[in-house]
Amino acid sequence: MFEHTLRAGALAFVMTASAVGVVALASMPASAAAPAASGPTVKIDNFVFGPAALTVTPGTTVTWINQDDIPHTVVAGDKSFKSKVLDTDERFSFTFTRPGEYDYFCSLHPHMVGKVIVKAG
């Protein structure tokens, strides 16, 4: 009923990419070209990061997906990663290379906190 522009925009992008091929995909800005998540995802739903704590091995790319009607961000407490604002259905990916515990939060709604634990498997 409420077809919002972002979803429509994302759809248009997918169609363009598939029609023109990999070259078009490579030329897209990094934020728009966030691939379909192959690694683990963290869903933002009802102002909660889920799962709140995620354990991965070094080299893993984690993707956050905002499923709320309200924009959110994903910002590391130590500023090692920081998304732009994510509107509904928008994604942010970050590849964790070094072992450690990464606390992060939404800089707009700071009561929203989460953690990624990176350790060798």
């Binding site: 709320d68 604002v85 709604h109």
Partner: protein, 316 residues
């Protein structure tokens, strides 16, 4: 909010016309004490109590979220336009408008442009503070400051005087800490202390900021971590009125001489703290939406009456 529908009575007509928007409250400042009154209470009073002879009134608009287009409001610009139309229709022209933030949904230039164009129709000066939705540009607030930050400090805080009332605009939506709520920060608190120093304790003070300056519901971040320090500087004043937005519903609290009030949004309602899965938009049936949006009108009367606030919905 209930109100009597009695055609032919100007005062009731006035109140009725204010019974539209969520972000409406009638503020009357008088005798140095601020107080808010409900629409029913206002209707029961003699006309003089909210028709100040030597005082003034102003309007609080909040959380217009221009650009929002999802359930329960497919067009937040349209409801903002309705709110401004209600201000224009007020028989007693307010002196100015205070907007307590979240002007836009995503800080886009087009959203700011649209919001400015809508509120400009009122022909009144608008004083702003940013909400977190107004700081989402690449420059983290530069777009807001370029439009509204002239003469302000830091992230946009400022103060001004109007007919003997001192107004302080605070910013509590930047540099937020993980796990925390709103934040004023040491630099702004130091500025506030200086700004208030030397003012007579009998000066009526109106403070406005986006997020509540008292803890409404901590689990949803509805408060300001260092508000207590700000209130320390405000305690000695005989009349302090604190106006906030952010939570898209009316809440009130009185603590000593400080009266706290949050306004409705002109865009969409939110649930009562803790009474829902999240502080996201409350998806109400279309026919209910206008009764949950609104404006606040404040009237300041010199004399013995306290500040009067009337919240009115957008229902016609």
């Amino acid at each position: 909010m209930n109100h009597q529908d009695t055609p032919g009575d100007d005062r009731r007509g006035f109140l009725k016309c204010m019974a539209w928007a969520g972000t409406g409250a009638l503020w009357t400042v008088s005798g140095g004490l601020a107080s808010s009154i409900s629409l029913d209470q206002a209707a029961a009073r003699p006309p003089a109590s909210h028709a100040p002879a030597k005082g003034f009134s102003f309007v609080q608009l909040s959380d217009s979220h221009v650009g929002f287009a999802k359930p329960a409001n497919p067009d937040a610009a349209a409801t903002y336009r309705e709110a401004v139309a209600k201000v224009i229709a007020m028989p007693m022209k307010p002196d100015f408008i205070i907007h307590t933030g979240d002007i836009t949904q995503l800080s886009k230039d087009q959203e700011f442009d649209d919001a400015d164009q809508i509120v400009r129709a009122a022909g009144l000066t608008v004083f702003h503070v940013p909400g977190e939705h107004d700081m989402l540009d690449e420059g983290a607030g530069q777009a807001y400051l370029a439009r509204y930050g002239k003469g302000s400090k830091g992230a946009g805080w400022h103060s001004f005087d109007h007919h003997g009332v001192h107004f302080v605009a605070l910013v509590n939506v930047v540099n937020l800490k993980p796990g925390g709520m709103g934040s004023l920060g040491p630099e702004q608190l130091a500025w506030l202390e200086k700004d208030l120093a030397g003012r007579s304790s009998s000066t009526p003070i109106v403070v406005f900021a986006h997020m509540p300056l008292w803890t409404v519901y901590a689990d949803w971040g509805w408060g300001t971590d260092d508000a207590a320090q700000a209130l320390t500087h405000l305690k000695r004043f005989g009349s302090v009125t604190v106006l906030n937005g952010h939570i898209h519903q009316i809440t009130r609290k009185v603590e000593g001489n400080i009266a706290f009030h949050t306004a409705r949004s002109t865009a969409f309602p939110q649930p009562v703290g803790g009474q829902g899965p999240s502080p996201g938009p409350l998806k109400v049936p279309t026919e209910q939406l206008h009764s949950m949006l609104g404006v606040t009108t404040a009237s300041f009367v010199r004399g013995t009456e306290p500040i009067a606030l009337v919240d009115s919905t957008l229902t016609a």
